[in-house]
Subunit: 145 residues, 4 copies
């Protein structure tokens, strides 16, 4: 287990924020957003952060470095449920870079109230899925704001 | 609109049956299976039918004819909701073959009570997504049992 | 089959437009957005239209008329695939009101190029899932812009 | 973070096994099963374990103790990707009971080769989502086989 990042509950500790609105399709029979929807929320926020930093997914993937960021580990802690039509702020931070992996921390909140925190651990892989060198631009994304 | 198949409400009109159990992740805040889960149910039944006929997806896709079956049209009629933990019988039938397309009809029932009927229209495409010749084995799958 | 609305390929025929960006989680091994993602796209656009018209879902559902809009039928015609990171314009129109049902038409396009058209047929149901009177505000949403 | 269970890579350490086949709808443009599909896999295996132990979800939920098992934390470690049509063995174990929470450990393998391990932390909640007493039957499910 490489997971070591401790996601803060303070939105100002994060570097980038992405907003999304939950979908009715993502609710479950308990009347809340099903926990299985969260990985896609985190990924959407991660993609938005890369795009904002000038590294949209398609460029990263088809460029000379041609990498994908495989998900090696995922951790989500649910503090309060999300509900349909909630406008969720997802705060994102890159940290814990090694030669082969990096970690992304997340805080999900609605109206400033934390709903969940999460961490994903990623490794760079080439298009065939083999471990690859970490692209240089990641170092520039890492660390606090 | 190529959709023309009229799916029967009589299970004995179908050629193949696949059973699945609904997931809690597929429920919604109305307490029923969300309609967005049905396309994956139909696809699972379609894949099972091809596997049963000796044409598992990976063989079809990587074989000399190398085809995928793109979904051109999808129609679902909901008659009664599905609920969590329902054991659903999905009855499947291939019909309406043309040189470039075929249609699949579906009846979803629980304990013999119809819950939904559906039709998908498919076209053969090569790995690059271009229209391709329909594999010969499809003719053998078509028609009533 | 109540489905009768013919969705136009001309965006100016629609009354409301919602924009969304496709997610990587919604792609499939063919490299395109899986057709199973479309019902949630249509629902997101439908919810946005109701919210824009002053009838957000929670208000509709918990109000004196307390209705949900069950999906009775769904039809999607795929014209060109969507891909990851596409910014999709979803144009929406309510039509074909009867005492118990209404239809919603959709045009999905990227950069003005049609990707799919769709129709959903809905019935008003009370919180227990029984058919209910159609709320009066729907008449105001129907018809061309 | 309550997560403390260390899931074993040895299938014989688990108490219950559930088999499922991956769906094409769950693949992504990297050609593998998207990591967002795993929470539903874990939940399907957890539900099957409860059903096998004589506590099907609907009975648990509507019974005199009327509880749901909210997901408080989720951890997944991906060791090797799953692919479409894989027959996955999901081995399940309940452990680490406290007065208010329990943990479930999972090993996912294909043909005996580990693909992922996972842990979920659950709390009993009443139908309104408030913390509830842990049902007595859980103690009987806990521990090694």
């Amino acid at each position: 287990m490489r997971l070591s990042l401790q996601p803060s509950l303070d939105a100002s500790d994060y570097r980038f924020t992405h907003a999304l609105r939950t979908r009715f399709a993502e609710t479950d029979a308990m009347g809340i957003i099903h926990h299985g929807a969260y990985p896609a929320y985190l990924e959407e926020a991660r993609s938005a952060m890369l795009r904002d930093a000038g590294f949209p997914y398609e460029v990263v993937r088809s460029g000379p470095e041609g990498v994908d960021f495989a998900v090696l580990e995922l951790y989500v802690r649910h503090r309060k449920p999300l509900r349909f039509d909630d406008e969720v702020g997802i705060h994102v931070l890159v940290d814990c870079l090694t030669r082969t992996t990096f970690q992304v921390g997340y805080l999900l909140e609605v109206g400033g109230v934390p709903r969940a925190t999460a961490v994903t651990v990623h490794g760079a892989v080439d298009p065939a899925g083999r471990p690859s060198r970490m692209p240089a631009f990641l170092a520039g994304l890492a660390g606090a704001r």
